[in-house]
């Protein structure tokens, strides 16, 4: 309700303000030429002041005065020739009325089409103080986060939040939460495996060295932890050790109880591993792409991102000599003193290449 009162008051106020000049009696415009004469008179006074300051000589002041005098005469001549205008008053009144009427029409019409007058504001603080039973999942998480921000030593809080983060795809937060729980209470297989999974998921499914270390710690605490065993096998596969991976997964499958959800996961993993043997073609395709990128850069070397991509690709293909060559060609293309060359040099150094300075 208050909103409507304010909106009405604003509209009414604007109408009143516009009405004030329209309601004035005299519609005649003042003569514009008077203003100009005024300006020229000011200029004449300024010349006197400049002369008094010693900025211009008497001769110069005389010339300037004569110039302004000529302008005034020209203006007066033009003024005599100009015909007086006669305003048509009734038309003016109609235009004014129409203008004022347009204010509420345009504003309320447009607002009705675009606004949300019945939707109150939602300041965050007020929302978090509301009854939890009405809150959404997101709100509950935000509350838990607020609670943990205030009591960061609550290991159970982190335990609750960590798997939720993992499910929502907030992998970095999940890893931190699992790690906090381990640190504040004690590492358990579930906490370590959770952290490992979060780290791997955060690295687009790559079981990184960090993640692998967590799984191995988890297995040291609890040798039959299924999640850790699965990921250790996956790490072996990603390291190119397909036979080892298959052996680990088969071992796992043999020990699984009837009806375990892991049956499907492991069957898929073993199948995927078998298909991976046919990867050689893929390498050939990648080499082709790299060759065409190199050719494109020879033709159009003005492309920092392209050079970076080429250098990176050579490193992935384990051809460091070619990477080194690409780095040098790229830097030469921009001129070794240019910022682009510096950028490439920094990039090359980060991959372990050498840079001459």
């Amino acid at each position: 309700m208050l909103f409507w009162i304010v909106a009405a008051a604003l509209t009414f106020g604007a109408c009143l303000l516009l009405l004030a000049p329209l309601a004035r009696g005299n519609a005649d415009a003042a003569d514009a030429r008077a203003h100009e004469i005024e300006v020229y008179k000011d200029q004449l006074l300024e010349i006197e002041r400049d002369m008094a300051r010693g900025l211009i000589s008497a001769g110069e002041a005389e010339l300037a005065r004569a110039e302004i005098g000529r302008k005034i005469i020209r203006l007066s001549d033009a003024h005599d020739a100009a015909e007086p205008t006669s305003p048509s008053r009734p038309l003016g009144r109609w235009i004014g009325a129409l203008a004022i009427l347009s204010l509420p029409l345009v504003s309320w019409g447009l607002y009705a089409a675009t606004g949300s007058p019945f939707y109150p504001g939602q300041p965050l603080q007020a929302r978090l103080e509301r009854d939890p039973s009405e809150a959404s999942v997101d709100e509950l998480i935000a509350r838990a986060e607020a609670h943990l921000a205030a009591n960061p030593d609550d290991a159970r809080g982190w335990d609750v939040l960590a798997p939720i983060y993992l499910r929502l795809g907030r992998f970095a937060d999940a890893a931190t939460a699992f790690a906090n729980a381990s640190r504040l209470d004690q590492p358990t297989a579930a906490r370590l495996a959770g952290e490992g999974e979060a780290l791997a998921a955060g690295a687009n499914g790559q079981v990184t060295a960090d993640a692998l270390a967590r799984f191995e710690d988890a297995l040291a605490l609890q040798p039959d932890d299924l999640r850790s065993r699965y990921f250790v096998a996956l790490a072996a596969e990603q390291a190119g050790n397909g036979d080892e991976a298959r052996r680990l997964w088969q071992e796992m499958r043999d020990g699984l109880p009837e009806g375990s959800p892991w049956h499907g996961v492991i069957a898929a993993a073993i199948e995927g591993e078998a298909a991976g043997d046919a990867q050689d073609d893929q390498v050939g395709m990648i080499e082709n792409m790299v060759a065409s990128l190199a050719a494109r850069l020879e033709a159009n070397p003005n492309d920092v991102d392209g050079w970076q991509q080429l250098i990176r690709s050579y490193m992935v293909l384990e051809r460091p000599q070619d990477a080194q060559g690409a780095l040098e060609r790229g830097r030469a293309a921009f001129g070794t003193a240019s910022p682009e060359a510096g950028h490439l040099a920094a990039y090359g150094l980060s991959l372990g290449l050498e840079v001459e300075q």
Binding site: A7, L10, G54, A64, P87
Partner: protein, 664 residues
């Protein structure tokens, strides 16, 4: 409720701007004072309503009200309060709201301070301002409404682009918009003059201060943006010839031209038609800049708000205003009376030369900026026009102008004496030559071009000082009298000198950094040291740090000078903002005098070390000190409230060659 009041206020402001763009115009046509009188309350109410609207959006940001889509997209509850507030204009919708707020503020200033303007001129100017406001308010409401709501509201925002979470955001856009939008006043005056079909004396008197104010703000905005890019992007560059930078540089170039031609207009009522055209072009370039930034037609490091549909809308506004005003110019320019005559060698002539160079330079930059668009349209190929093009074209154009600058203020109005001016500049010339030679033989014997650049820089500075010395009569009158006359010089004389000297200082910084910069790149382990231009930079290690909404890896360095004495610590960091999953670099900078030691962290190397890029940037601060000096010059000149008249010089035949220098 506050959010919706803000929304309603914006809609009402749009309705008022429609009234403002029609009623006073009709009133001026009919000679009806009542209708013209509507302009003032309308302009003031529009300002009040947009300010209310802006305040409402700010409240939504401060309260983290994520039911507002704009707040959700660009804020985060953990963001520091300063960035919650600056985040209001750190995005497309909010920055457009700031844009129209400034536009309304300028219109209100004309309404308040323009009471001594001829009534019809004032009504027409305000009406044109109203049209611009109406167009942009419609754009805001129709295609980028900052008050759009989300139901149900998300619990956390997506955070502001980390690069924008910096004090620079508090200063750079508002100053830049003050500049862009300030030129809208000049545009409105120009269009009003064309509508009336005549330019009177009051017109000229009014346009110069507005140009000056807009120009000073734009100078500051560009300089701040450049310094921000310098310390935030981690490349150590201060100017990239990026399309968006060019978009702000174009109106600056033509605005500088306008500033100078407006002086001729005010003092000598010459160059009237040209000034009108320049005023139209300058604001058109500002609009073009807005279009380029918002539409995303050109790829740029600034692309923070790109959306093709918005682009089309702004393109329509652009076509309507530029096309409309130029058509009006074509129709009416012939009815404007041309002003006074002058010799080619005169102050007026010098200013025409300035205009020629500046507009050509602006045209060059415009071509370079739009060329990729053209090529893409014709051949479908994506190309980028980089620094080499601009250095090759803009450089040769600007150097002759820089050389000519010190002559300008020494020439008399109407007919000048180039030989006499050269004689007076002899000392300045000798001094800059000496400094250049000293640089060449003592500092760096490699680059003659650098020595030349330094000579140009000092030529500008000494030229500006010479002007001051001559105008106070040094060498002609006793020191006491000269001092008294120096103190009594009009403020605009100081303004000119400060601005021209500032140009020299900026040139000095640019030349020194481009020619004498030293760069080192290395993989460093904790304890390693490297030599950067005589300073030893020791890497102490990487330390983690937790910010309010980011985590940071700080690389700490200590540096010592040639004598081996420790001079201080440099902290250079890599930040990570989890909400946007974005990293930023925070360069570590230590200033030594006007030079800086600049350290940026790169990626980790496989052996556990980290890539470190370090630069020695000699005299780099002069780049921005010069800009501040230009801005200050503008401000001081603005304070000169005199009515300015340029007294013409007498014909050579007359014996009374003035004993003192002509008034500025």
């Amino acid at each position: 409720m506050i959010v919706e009041i803000g929304h309603f206020a914006l809609v009402l402001a749009f309705a008022l701007s429609l009234v403002l763009s029609v009623v006073p115009l009709v009133g001026a046509r009919m000679g009806d004072a009542r209708l013209m009188g509507v302009a003032e309350p309308a302009a003031l109410s529009i300002l009040a309503l947009i300010a209310l609207s802006f305040a409402a959006l700010t409240v939504a940001y401060v309260q983290s009200d994520f039911s507002v889509a704009n707040v959700w997209e660009n804020s985060h509850s953990a963001k520091p309060m300063l960035y919650k507030v600056t985040g209001v204009w750190g995005n497309h919708e909010g920055s457009m709201l700031l844009w129209v707020l400034i536009l309304a503020a300028f219109a209100a200033l004309v309404a308040i301070f323009g009471r001594n303007l001829p009534a019809t001129l004032r009504a027409n100017v305000l009406a044109v301002q109203g049209m611009i406001a109406a167009a942009f308010l419609l754009f805001l409401l129709a295609s980028s409404n900052p008050f759009e709501r989300i139901n149900p509201p998300p619990i956390e925002g997506q955070d502001l682009n980390p690069i924008l979470q910096d004090i620079g955001l508090a200063i750079h856009p508002p100053l830049l918009y003050l500049g862009y939008v300030g030129f809208s006043i000049c545009f409105s005056f120009a269009v009003a003059a064309l509508i009336e079909g005549r330019i009177d004396a009051a017109w000229a008197r009014w346009v110069r201060p507005w140009t000056l104010a807009a120009w000073a703000a734009l100078t500051g905005g560009i300089a701040m943006g450049s310094y921000w890019a310098y310390y935030e992007l981690g490349w150590g560059g201060y100017w990239f010839w990026d399309p968006v930078e060019n978009a702000s540089f174009l109106p600056w170039l033509s605005g500088t031209a306008l500033l100078h031609s407006a002086i001729v207009m005010e003092k000598r009522s010459a160059l009237k038609i040209w000034t009108v055209l320049l005023a139209i072009l300058t604001f058109s370039l500002s609009l073009l800049g807005t279009f380029l930034v918002r539409s995303g037609v050109l790829t740029s490091v600034h692309a923070f708000a790109t959306d093709p549909t918005r682009g089309v809308f702004i393109l329509m506004i652009l076509v309507a205003f530029i096309g409309g005003s130029l058509a009006l110019f074509a129709l009416r320019a012939s009815s404007l009376t041309a002003g006074g005559v002058f010799h080619p060698i005169s102050r007026e002539g010098g200013l025409v030369l300035n205009n020629l160079f500046l507009t050509t330079a602006a045209a060059t930059v415009l071509v370079g900026t739009l060329w990729p668009l053209l090529v893409e349209a014709v051949s479908g190929e994506k190309i980028s026009v980089g620094a080499p093009f601009f250095n090759m074209t803009f450089g040769p154009l600007i150097v002759p102008l820089l050389l000519a600058v010190p002559f300008g203020p020494l020439l008399a109005w109407k007919r000048g004496d180039l030989y006499a001016a050269s004689q007076r500049l002899f000392v300045a010339f000798g001094l800059s030559l000496a400094i250049a030679l000293a640089t060449f033989f003592i500092v760096d014997r490699v680059s003659a071009l650098a020595a030349f650049g330094i000579a140009v820089a000092f030529w500008l500075v000494f030229g500006a000082l010479t002007d001051l010395a001559l105008k106070s009569g040094v060498g002609k009158v006793s020191p006491a009298v000269a001092l008294r006359r120096f103190a009594g010089l009009p403020r605009s004389v100081f303004g000119t000198s400060l601005a021209h000297a500032g140009l020299g200082l900026t040139t000095l910084g640019i030349v020194a950094v481009s020619a004498l910069e030293v760069e080192r790149i290395a993989v460093m382990q904790p304890g390693d040291a490297m030599d950067v231009a005589g300073y030893e930079l020791r890497f102490d290690g990487i330390f983690p740090f937790e910010g309010p909404n980011y985590t940071e890896e700080q690389g700490r360095f200590t540096y010592s000078d040639r004598s081996g004495r420790e001079r201080g610590e440099i902290v250079s960091a890599k930040r990570f903002y989890p909400a946007r999953q974005m990293p930023t670099t925070e360069a570590g900078i230590a200033s030594r005098g006007f030079s800086q030691l600049y350290v940026a962290l790169g990626d980790r190397a496989p052996d556990g070390g980290i890539v470190v890029r370090a630069w020695w940037k000699p005299q780099v601060l002069f780049i921005w000190i010069g800009c501040v000096s230009m801005m200050l010059g503008g401000a001081i000149s603005l304070l000169d409230r005199r009515l300015r008249v340029g007294a013409p010089a007498a014909r050579r035949a007359k014996p009374a060659r003035p004993a003192v220098e002509p008034a500025e």
